[in-house]
Symmetry: C2
Subunit: 715 residues, 2 copies
C-alpha cells in the first residue's frame, strides 16, 4: 500500500474536511482535521465510544465518492459495539476503520466529544505572603570615567545597599534587555527588578512597577484549571479553565500511558497539546484584563457614538503612544489604561506572567514534562522523579515571561502525584490533631489519612465509572448530560435534570430535554436512587419485581436494563438506559473507594476518623446523603463530611504565593507513607464486600422512611 | 522605489549568484550570496577596500543584462578611493553602490577577503585539575513495592552515599533522558552521571564512562581559536581555529559596533554568525576524532583492498551495531572504536562536549551574547556586565551537549575584556614579586602592569595598522601577504617572503611570488627596515636622499611612496607600495603602545619593569630586535622580552580545567585598576613623542654597525 498517498476525508455534521495519509484510522483523521470524537479507551478498541457512520454515494457538494469499500475491513473487536443493523447502516468504530479512499464520515451526536462544563473556582483560603518573585525598585548613578562600572554591577550594588540582596545572578535573556531598559526615556537610570527566590534577576522594567503576576495551574486528567494571581496583593485576578486537550488520546491515565507506548512520538504529541493548551489559557487570562473591543453600534446611535469614540480613541492613543515612545524596542511593558468608564484595565500580556506553579497527578506530571510515563503504569510504579522542579518556562515551550520559572510540585508516588501534594499543603492535615481522611476523586481516586503524628496515602482504582465513563450512556459533564436523578419508590417513575436546562423533566416537554447521557454526579444519584426505589438489590442485581415498563431485557444481548430517559426526550434518537453492567461498574468504583478507606484505617489502627474531606469536582457535586446510602465513604455521619473544592488547585496557588509552601510540599511528599493497597492482606475480600450496598444502614436511622424497609433491612 | 522587488546579482570570479532586494548595497548582496568582500571599515565608506567592478553588457551564460545604470548613483565618498580611470572602467565601492537592476559584479583579487592563516597552538602551561564537570559512576537497586522510589531519587541517594554529593539538581533536558538510560540493556541500573560545579546533573549515560570533554574558546576580533580538551586527563585533544566570521561586518571592534548601530538586526546577525562559526568549529573538532573516511583506491589495488575492506567493515559494523542495540533511542553515546590499524579513535560528537569556556574582548563578548555593545564604544565605555556568566549552551544556540553550560569569563572594563582576564589567569602576575608588563596586541592593544602588590590595566588605540589594516596594501595574514622584509642599507633593494611560499623573493622568479599585500608581521619589519636603511628618518618622514628607483611620488596624489614589490611580482597587477600615510599609521600604532606603557609606568611610579610579556600572534611573529628598533616597548633589553603565545586562550583553557581559575578570574577582573589613558595628564605630548623612531638608541649598543651611524645618531 502506498502510505504516502493522500485521500480526502470529510466529517459531518461539522463539515470539517481535509487530506490525510492512506492507512490512518478515522480517529487519527479526526484529530488531524480538528474533529473531536470520543476516545475514552485511548483506541484500545474496548470502549466503543467512537462509533461513526460511513456514508455511501457521490456527494457533489464535497466532490467526494464515498464508499464503505474505502475503509479497511471489518474487525472482530467491532462486533461487541456495532450490532447487525448498525453495521448494515455503515457504522464502524473510528479506532478500527482505516481510510483507504475518499470518505464522508458522519459522527453521531453521542460520539462527539462535547465541550465539558468545568467549574473550578478559587476558594478563599488563608495564605501567607511570600512569593517566589518580588519587585525591587532602584535608581543607579550614571557611569563616569572614574566609575565606569557595568550596568549589571551598578544595579547589583544598589540592590545590595537598599535591600540587602547578595550574590544575585541574572538570566541571560533578561541581561540582553538590561542596557536599553536602563536608559529608557524619562526613566533613565531608574529600574524595577524582578528577583526570583532571592537569587536571580528574571525581569527588568524601566521605572517603578509595583505589581507582578503569576499563574497557578491544576492539570487534571479531564480538566485544567488556572488561577491568575497578583503576586503582590495575592488577589485572584481571574480563574480560567479548559478541557485537558489530551482527552482525545484517551480518557484516563492508563489509556494515555498506553497511547504513549503504542505510538512513537505520542508522548511529545500529548505534551505539546498540553503546552499549547496552557499557552492559550494564559492568553485568555491576559485578554480578560484588556478593555472589551468596540462593538458595532446600530445605525441610529452611530452619529453621536462616533463623535464620542473619536475623542476617546484620541485620548487613549496619545497616552499609549506616550508610553511606547518611552520604551525602546520593548514588547512587554505594563500599561494601566483608564477608559472613559473610569474602569481600570490591567492590560496584561503573557510577558507579565512572571511565575507559574503546576500540580497534576504523576502521569499528567510526566506527560507534561515529556518524562517517560511507562514505568508509572508498571508495577512497582516508580516515578521518574519525586522532587519539585524549577524549569525555565521557555525550556518547556510555555509562553509566559521568557526568563520566568515554572515550579512543578513534587510527586508522592506513581499513583499519588503533585495534585495530591497540592491538596495536602492546602488542607495541612499534618498540622492537625484530628484524624482526617482526605479523598480526592478525579479520574483517579487518591486517599490520605492521618494527622500530625503520621500520614499515609494510597490510590484506589475507582475507575472512570464514577465520572461517567465506561457506562453505556455515560458522558462528561457537558450540556445534555443528566446530572440529577430522582426515582419515585412507588411508581418507579424517573425525574431528572440535564446540564444546560434549569427545568427538571417533570416540568418540561419531552422534546425540550435533549438528553444525551449521564455524567458523574448523575451516576452517583443513580445508584442510590435505584437502590432506594428497590430497583436494584443490595448485591447490585436488578430486582425481578419491577413496577414500571422502564425495566426490560435488551433485545440484542438479553441483559436487563432500566430506562432513564425515553427516546423522545433525547437528542440521540435512542432511550438512555442504565444496564446491569453499568451498575457493576459503579459498584466497582464505589467499592474500590470504600475498601481503600477501610484498609488505610486498618493500617493506621483506627476504627473511625474525625473528618472526611472530599476534594475535587466530585466533592462539590456529590449529594452527601446519597453517597452515604451508596456506601461510598467509611463509617461517618453527614456532618463529618466536608467538601473542600479544588484543593489541589488551592495548593498550587498557595505554592505560587508562598515559597514556604514549596518547601512544605517537598517535605510532605517524602514523609507521607505510600501504601500499595492491592498488595494488602485480604484486599480481594474487602473489595468484594465493599461493592455491596449499603454497608452501614444501621448507622443511619434517618434512612428509615426514606428507604423502603424491605430494602433497608435486606440481608 | 519598490523595495520588495528582486533583482539578479552575479559575482565573478566565484560565479555565486542569486536574487536580492532592490536597494541593498553590493556588500550586503555579497553577504547574502556568500561572497566575501573585504569590509575593513564596516561600511563607513572610509577604507576603500571593497572596490568592485560593474560589468557592462548582456551575459548570455547568466541570462543577465548588466549595466552600470543598474546600480545607484556615484557618491562623493567614492572619489577618494576610485580614480578617474577606474571609474571609467566601472569600479565602485561595494558599500556605496546599491543594486537597482540585474548586475554582474567583478570582485578584484585585492578586494576578496582571503582565508586567513591562523596559528594559535596550545602552550604547555601548568594547570591544576579541578574541572567544572566530573563523571560519577553509580549502580542503583531496582525499585520494589516496598521501595518504589523514583529514578532520580535513587540516583541521588547513591551519589550522596558514595561521593558525598548533596542537594543536586538536574537539568530538565537531562531528566527527560534519565528513565531510558537507567534501563539500558546490559547497563540496566548502572549509570554515569556528569555533575556540573558539584550542583547539577547535566548528563546521564548508561554504564561506566570515564572521559568527558570540553572546549576552551578564544574569540579574537580577527581569529577564533578553540582548544578541545579531555576534562579528565587535561590533554588537549585538538586545536581548531577559524577567521572571526564577523570580519565581513568590519575589521575592528569599532566598525562592528558601528555596524550594529547603523543596521537594525545587525547585532543578531553578527552574533548568529559567530554562534554558527563556533558550532562548525565544534563539529570540526569532533570529526577529527573519527577514523578518516575511506578513499577510492586505484584500479590495480581495488581487488585485494576490497576483500580486506569487507572484513574490516564487518568487524567495525558488528561492534557498532552491538553498541547501538544497547542504547535505546540514544543519539549521543561515547563509542571507542578500534580500527585495523590498532589506532584508537574517540569518535566524539558535539553531544560529548559537556563544558565550554569563552574569552574575548568586551565588544566580542557583548556581540556574541547579543548584549548591546553601543555603550562600550561610547565614553565612559561601561560594559553591560563585568562578571562571568554561566549560560546554558542551548540558550545561546550553541550545539554542544544540550544541558551543558558555557562559562563566559568576566570583563575588566569596556576596552579590557575577558581575553585580558584570560591572559592574567594564565600569567598570574598577581602572584609574582617581579613587576611585569603584559602586552596583548590583537586588533586592540591591552596592557597590564604590576605584581602581587597592585595591578593596573589599560587599553591603547594601537589601531589596526600594526595588524595590516588601514595601510594602502595592508591585508590579513593570508596567502600572498608579505610577512618578512629585509632592505639592503647600501642599495635599498628589498627582499621579502610571502605567506604560502617558502622561498624569499631573492630566490624566486618574480611571477612566482604572487604578492597581494603586507600583513601585520611584515609591517613591523617594514618600519624598522625602512628606518635602518635610512629610507625614513626619525620623524617618520621619507628621506629625500634615496638610493633606488623604489622611492617615487605617486602620480595621482603626488605623495611619496616606496615600492616593496614590483607589479610583475604581484597577483594584483600593481606595485605594492608603502606610502607616507602608511608610515604615519604605523607610527600612530607604535606610538600609542609605547605611550601607553610609559604612562602606566608613571602611574605606578616605576622607572623600569622586570619583564615584558607579549601575548597573542603579534608576540609570536614579532622580531624582538626590530620591535626595539621601532621603539615599540618601553626601556628594556632583548632578554627581558618574552612571548607568551595565545595567553588569552590558555586562560580560557585554565578556566575550563580548573574552576578555581574562574573564581580567580572574577577576583582579578574587579581588582585590576583600569586606567583610561586618554584622560591622563600630558597624554597628547607623550603620544607625540612616542611616535618618533627610535626612542632608545643609546640603550642598544648592538645597533651600532647594524644601523648606519648617521641614522642611529640623528637628533
Amino acid at each position: 500500500m502506498d502510505e504516502a498517498k493522500k485521500v480526502k476525508v470529510i466529517f459531518q455534521p461539522s463539515g470539517r474536511r481535509g487530506e490525510v495519509d492512506v492507512g490512518v484510522t478515522l480517529i487519527e483523521a479526526s484529530r488531524q482535521l480538528g474533529v473531536d470524537i470520543e476516545a475514552l479507551c485511548g483506541e484500545k478498541k474496548v470502549c466503543g465510544k467512537c462509533k461513526v457512520r460511513i456514508e455511501e454515494g457521490f456527494f457533489e457538494k464535497f466532490g467526494v465518492h464515498s464508499s464503505r469499500e474505502n475503509v479497511s475491513e471489518w474487525q472482530e473487536e467491532e462486533e461487541k459495539f456495532v450490532n447487525g443493523a448498525e453495521r448494515q447502516d455503515g457504522y464502524r468504530l473510528g479506532c478500527c476503520a482505516k481510510v483507504q479512499g475518499d470518505v464522508l464520515v458522519f459522527v453521531p451526536e453521542e460520539s462527539r466529544a462535547g465541550k465539558q462544563v468545568v467549574s473550578k473556582a478559587a476558594r478563599d483560603i488563608h495564605i501567607d505572603w511570600n512569593p517566589a518573585v518580588r519587585h525591587y525598585y532602584v535608581e543607579v548613578v550614571e557611569p563616569t570615567f572614574e566609575h565606569p562600572t557595568g550596568d549589571f554591577e551598578r544595579i547589583l550594588d544598589e540592590l545590595n545597599r537598599q535591600y540587602g540582596l547578595k550574590d544575585l545572578n541574572i538570566d541571560y535573556s533578561t541581561l540582553k534587555k538590561l542596557p536599553a531598559r536602563l536608559r529608557d526615556g524619562s526613566n533613565r537610570w531608574k529600574m524595577t527588578v524582578a528577583v526570583w527566590m532571592g537569587k536571580e534577576i528574571i525581569r527588568v522594567l524601566p521605572g517603578k512597577v509595583e505589581d507582578c503576576y503569576g499563574i497557578a495551574v491544576d492539570i487534571g486528567t479531564t480538566t485544567v484549571a488556572a488561577y491568575f494571581c497578583n503576586l503582590r496583593t495575592m488577589q485572584v485576578v481571574d480563574t480560567v479553565s479548559m478541557m485537558n486537550p489530551q482527552c482525545k488520546y484517551g480518557e484516563d491515565v492508563m489509556s494515555r500511558i498506553t497511547y504513549h507506548m503504542m505510538n512513537p512520538g505520542g508522548l511529545e504529541k500529548m505534551s505539546n497539546d498540553m503546552i499549547e493548551g496552557l499557552n492559550s489559557l494564559v492568553v485568555r487570562a491576559c485578554e480578560a484584563t484588556h478593555p472589551p473591543k468596540k462593538k458595532k453600534k446600530k445605525k441610529k446611535e452611530a452619529a453621536e457614538a462616533e463623535a464620542a469614540a473619536v475623542e476617546a480613541t484620541a485620548a487613549v492613543d496619545s497616552e499609549a503612544s506616550g508610553e511606547e515612545a518611552e520604551v525602546s524596542n520593548d514588547e512587554e511593558v505594563l500599561v494601566l489604561k483608564d477608559t472613559k468608564e473610569d474602569k481600570h484595565y490591567l492590560c496584561l500580556n503573557p510577558n507579565d506572567v512572571i511565575d507559574m506553579t503546576i500540580v497534576g497527578n504523576t502521569a499528567m506530571h510526566h506527560i507534561l514534562l515529556k518524562l517517560n510515563p511507562e514505568f508509572v503504569g508498571l508495577a512497582p510504579f516508580p516515578p521518574v522523579i519525586h522532587r519539585s522542579l524549577d524549569i525555565r518556562a521557555r525550556d518547556l515551550g510555555l509562553r509566559i515571561n521568557d526568563s520566568a520559572y515554572v515550579h512543578v510540585l513534587p510527586n508522592e508516588a506513581g499513583f499519588v502525584g503533585a495534585d495530591n501534594v497540592g491538596v495536602l499543603i492546602s488542607e495541612e492535615p499534618y498540622k492537625k490533631d484530628e484524624v482526617q481522611l482526605i479523598i480526592d476523586i478525579g479520574t483517579n481516586g487518591e486517599l490520605v489519612l492521618g494527622n500530625k503524628e503520621k500520614l499515609i496515602s494510597s490510590s484506589c482504582a475507582t475507575g472512570p465509572a464514577l465520572e461517567g465513563a465506561q457506562i453505556a450512556y455515560g458522558m462528561r459533564a457537558a450540556p445534555g448530560a443528566i446530572e440529577r436523578i430522582k426515582i419515585d419508590p412507588e411508581t418507579h417513575e424517573v425525574d431528572y435534570k440535564v446540564i444546560g436546562r434549569d427545568a427538571w423533566r417533570a416540568f418540561s416537554k419531552p422534546e425540550e430535554m435533549k438528553t444525551k447521557g449521564i455524567c458523574g454526579s448523575g451516576i452517583l444519584d443513580l445508584l442510590a436512587e435505584l437502590y432506594c426505589a428497590g430497583i436494584i438489590l443490595k448485591s447490585g442485581k436488578f430486582n425481578k419485581n419491577q413496577k414500571s415498563n422502564r425495566y426490560r431485557l435488551n433485545p440484542d444481548n438479553k441483559q436487563p436494563e432500566f430506562v432513564i430517559a425515553w427516546k423522545e426526550e433525547t437528542s440521540i434518537g435512542r432511550d438512555v438506559v442504565v444496564t446491569q453492567k453499568d451498575v457493576r461498574q459503579i459498584q466497582l468504583g464505589k467499592g474500590a473507594l470504600y475498601c481503600g478507606c477501610k484498609l488505610m484505617m486498618r493500617r493506621m489502627g483506627i476504627e473511625k476518623v474525625d473528618k472526611v474531606k472530599i476534594a475535587g469536582a466530585f466533592g462539590t457535586h456529590v449529594d452527601r446523603q446519597k453517597a452515604l446510602i451508596m456506601g461510598l465513604f467509611p463509617d461517618c455521619t453527614l456532618d463529618m463530611i466536608e467538601s473542600v473544592g479544588n484543593a489541589a488547585g488551592d495548593g498550587a496557588r498557595a505554592a505560587l504565593l508562598n515559597i514556604e509552601k514549596r518547601i512544605e510540599a517537598n517535605w510532605v511528599a517524602r514523609n507521607v507513607e505510600y501504601i500499595e493497597l492491592t498488595v494488602e492482606k485480604d484486599f480481594q475480600q474487602h473489595f468484594m464486600e465493599a461493592m455491596q450496598i449499603p454497608h452501614m444502614r444501621d448507622k443511619f436511622p434517618n434512612l428509615e422512611g426514606v428507604v423502603p424497609p424491605e430494602i433497608l433491612h435486606q440481608k
